[in-house]
């Protein structure tokens, strides 16, 4: 027996797991994030307990599912973040990468960020909250690292970089979410507007009429 056999089993288990995840992906993208375990199992051509053997509980499946997309997105963002270019260009490219991703696959995005939507009444969502947050947190932490590592911020730089990392990610996320819902302008314009904000245009702008402006 042994190592070879074990690896064989493990391989087949891993393959199965991937198949299950792909099936789950299809269902979630079709039925929205409120898809039931039964539905996912049916799509995969099997029944519930198998899902539970592989993923523990619904949160586990959700986590595994989210991890795939999350990792892919983070990879893309890292690339944009590490590209050789000036800071402004790099910021814009990162923003654009993120926005292009959520624009290209809004279903995935809504699953990651706003699970437990789009269901009929009586719908109970996934095990929300433990997974959408992590994506934003991870993005924030990664951005913080890059900032701290490349930008000279003087004393207290680490703290500052983390605040900024999470703050910028939140800005990107909220603006992207709103933009995705209303599509008030082309992507490039949104990117430029956000970069302008980060570049201090709010502080530089003059007051409009009476009294001190915001």
């Amino acid at each position: 027996m042994d190592t070879t056999q074990r690896t064989d089993q493990q391989r087949s288990a891993d393959r199965r797991r991937r198949e299950l995840l792909e099936a789950a992906d299809r269902v979630v993208l079709r039925d929205g994030p409120g898809a039931s375990m039964n539905a996912i199992a049916a799509e995969a051509g099997i029944t519930k307990p198998i899902l539970y053997r592989h993923f523990g509980d619904k949160g586990g499946l959700y986590a595994a599912l989210a991890k795939r997309h999350t990792d892919a997105l983070l990879e893309a963002l890292r690339a944009a973040l590490d590209a050789p270019a000036e800071r402004r260009e790099r910021v814009e490219s990162t923003l654009d990468t993120y926005l292009a991703a959520i624009e290209a696959r809004p279903q995935v995005y809504r699953f990651l960020m706003h699970p437990a939507e789009g269901g009929q009444p009586g719908d109970q969502g996934f095990d929300v909250g433990k997974h959408s947050a992590p994506l934003l947190r991870r993005m924030g932490e990664e951005l913080a690292e890059v900032i701290e590592e490349r930008v000279d911020l003087g004393p207290g730089s680490q703290q500052l970089a983390r605040v900024w990392g999470h703050g910028i990610v939140g800005m990107m996320h909220a603006a992207g979410d709103w933009w995705l819902g209303e599509r008030p302008c082309p992507r490039a314009e949104l990117v430029r507007s956000l970069a302008d904000l980060l570049w201090g245009r709010l502080a530089a702008a003059g007051d409009k009429i009476g009294g001190p402006g915001f």
Copy 2:
């Protein structure tokens, strides 16, 4: 019959509704957002169907509950936003108001923003997603209005103001969420860091060592 009688009934109904909401508030703050309708009804000293008569479904109760806190918070933010002071001071005051609010009542905050957490396995959360978003959206829109109304942004100012409104709110939210979880620094420092970010300090800072920084 009629108006007088109706008003009487309506008054008593409204009072009842308020009592129910207060009971729901207590339960949600005690048990987390996963509280069951049964538990809420029990806290109010009555049983489920009454809740359903008053609020339609769980989403309705949730919405009503969220609206109270949301309105209160927005009121406070409006005050900070409209105070007579310079722009930077006003921005800091608004940030501080928001952060003070979530710091003072983190349970309420988590209920508004991250419902469907803190439950045991098998817990199905509230009807998430339809309510946490609205708060952020409303804040974003209000901020956008204030910006557009007071800051001179040249052509395309309305679009730009909305982008910034949602972006800034998202920044505040994400940074606040992270800060509330880790408490890495006093509130005042967070406020200053975020204001610095909005004031373009990221753009102004120099690169650290090799190559163009972020």
